[in-house]
Subunit: 264 residues, 4 copies
């Protein structure tokens, strides 16, 4: 089922989000509370933006709780925009290329959810990936495929529209060849300038999504589950939303892949 | 906390114990029910006896549930005596050399439990390992140290006595420099001819141990937790016991490290 | 560039081919002498047939020389038909799913060589994989794709014809979108009953292939490089050959993908 | 045999030393030219100093050339003082805890060379490690042991003296229980303020050591082998030297463990 956490704001050590809070992402890798599986131990990854346009990326197949490399990295690296993820596989093998986040150029993407019945139409999904982006298709997950389809749909110019169009395409596939729920999509993505997140499902069970501004840090955490039990001021994002986080601002609009399908 | 399962009898595929039962060892790697941690995902290992005097050994740091190598190996390899283990670390790093079982020559050993406060006297424990056995000290676990100490105490000639003497020595260390509970020891070991198991603790919480003869298989499973929920005929081994399993026979005697200490 | 070794005959320990000879496969993983790269350290794998129709499979990303699991496995497992491979990547990532051999059902396949300019048309190659076989497309190598294309072309009924047709298809792709040499193919495959091998290239540099019957073992080794320097009686397979090994027999016929292309 | 490279000066991306030069450290992991083994593929590691007193540490068992994590990390992380190492094992297992550099608190250490016949007296070497430092003994290498012995000998106050005393102790051990050459020691170490290096051997074959100031970078590289073939201005450090690098300065003094032994 996966859990993830992202941050945008003044640069902080990655560990401020990944490992130090009481219910940090690493804590959620073995004790998640708001999803089907408490355990998210099929690998992890972190993508962070620094001086380069493209982000750094560190992914491995170990449970996040047991990796000293991750602990060291998150204690040393500071960033003003980063994505971190712990994985619970929905079927695909445990390998580095199947861990999130995925990166292409300046873009990074991570996902909690799945495309329903995906293994029955993985080939069709792969075929939806544009030719020049196929070299970036390194693993076999539905998440990586969705990301590459969205890139071709114009993530660069219109992130929300591109993701709606990509979601519509995979929903149609899942309807034709897969299974319900056709798409559960709580995801985060970034080009290094802004952080985006979406919370959506074709059924009533969109995986959770929260965010919270920290005056102390001068930044915002965007997460699957609140990082501290006793912090009551996490804002829950409603299902069917696309969020844009930039500096202190939050913009939320309705996320409507069905409108795309209807128009098509 | 770890979970383990062993078998002695007519040769069967390893998977008959490791993965196929409803509450198999692999199931226990994420859903253990009779120990402190449901999750035992800090590595796994299997040692099996075949045509050679020394056993085969396959260990890795992945959670057992996600390793296709393990699945393939257990589906292909048949053995009349094998040990399998899934690990929950009690402090030491996740690495192959810290996974159980451990093997030296014909002997194999795996352990569920710990030596209390071990990290405070690991050096003393290492110093108890006899010089000629030190090349076999490859990791940093208390379990591997205990095994090597027991080997020097005469495992070859008197497995129970050797293990009692080794247990007495580490208990004394834990009393002097460590913490209570000084020793929890539910372990299995073998020389390829017989399977031995011990269930012991200095406190009242000796980790669980069961066994069951299968007429169908013509062999006996010795386990941390029964492999099927609905099989009511698993025999529970009392705390403070040393068992010898050979063919159909089971011999149980009182396991008394304290007697050794008292004598010393 | 890769190196591989296979065996068919009376059951022997895998190590008799994989590690014990003077110029064993493990030796070739760091000191190969008949190929472009002396080092083949981007992973390894072994597939072996035993009691099941489908083979066992053990693959990992470590250099073969440093894996104690491989050493143990090959010392313990006996088989009358097995394939072993050490990898030098021609571009694709180092991951377990990119290691050879590949297995589907009863079939196993390993490859030394490449499809020229493959990364430019990987998507086209993936699209050649039949829908129902796509779940078996787990990695991103040209070798795995070729194997899956050959399966759909009828490996089951006509191994040579199927492989010729598959080769013809990828050669056409490489001619259209890739680079010369369009295909170098020294491969071994098996259904558990017979061992097949092919030595072919569109240019003059088909990777090497030898075989040798051993009276002592009552079996035949089929290899990239002879396993002992001083054994002068290895038979070199001419380029453009397809071999069938069964028991003591060897049948060699001309391997002609171009004939397929011409006919098409 | 190992190869390593260190840097001290104005902050640069780690890749400027680790991967970008023509004969970078990663190049040396498969094509080293000045040591016994061209291949150094038994793991790698990098320790870098940033905002914290203690360094970051990333180590893994893959060959350095095939790890995308390393490539990403070195492209993103900038540091004014770092150590990087590629390993060729002299006997001990390939595991993360046996990779260099090693770190304790602010100190980092990496080594090219060995203690002669070490496996015969590993226990004695472990016994030389002071009790309170033993928790840092995570692996089984001679290098890690030497580092921990040196720490206890006063690395904090007198790095050269401490390393001479530690070297003297292990040389004595090797003379008594091991083999010649008793010690080959080309190592680098740092406390985050200064970079130190030593080139020493009990025989005539001290592993190579060079350094070079770069005006462009405003920093100094200290290496096993020059990073570019055509740069003729690398300074070779004579055998029997201890170097202190700080800012632009280089101080070189005679490294004399024998004097310590004689005095003892």
């Amino acid at each position: 089922m996966c859990r993830w956490a992202a941050y945008v704001g003044a640069p902080i050590f990655l560990e401020e989000i990944v490992s130090r809070p009481g219910h940090s992402l690493i804590h959620q890798s073995h004790c998640a509370t708001q999803c089907h599986t408490a355990i998210n131990a099929d690998g992890f990854g972190v993508a962070w933006y620094g001086e380069r346009p493209e982000p750094g990326l560190y992914r491995d197949v170990m449970p996040a709780w047991s990796d000293p490399n991750l602990r060291s990295l998150t204690a040393q690296v500071k960033s003003g925009l980063f994505l971190a993820h712990v994985r619970a596989s929905t079927g695909t093998a445990t390998s580095r290329n199947n861990c999130h986040p995925f990166t292409v150029g300046r873009w990074s993407f991570m996902h909690n959810g799945q495309i329903g019945g995906y293994e029955a139409f993985r080939r069709d999904a792969d075929m939806m990936i544009r030719d020049d982006l196929y070299p970036h298709r390194k693993g076999a997950t539905d998440s990586e495929a969705l990301f590459l389809i969205a890139l071709a749909e114009g993530l660069e110019d219109d992130p929300q529209g591109a993701l709606e169009r990509a979601a519509a395409r995979v929903i149609a596939l899942a309807r034709a060849k897969g299974a319900a729920p056709h798409l559960r999509l709580t995801a985060a993505l970034s080009d290094g300038a802004r952080l985006y997140a979406v919370r959506y499902s074709t059924d009533a069970l969109a995986p959770t999504l929260y965010h919270r501004w920290s005056d102390r840090r001068q930044g915002r955490a965007v997460v699957s589950e609140p990082l501290e039990q006793d912090e009551g001021d996490w804002t829950e994002v409603p299902a069917g939303s696309f969020c844009t986080f930039e500096g202190r601002d939050v913009q939320v609009s309705a996320f409507l892949p069905e409108a795309v399908s209807a128009a098509a």
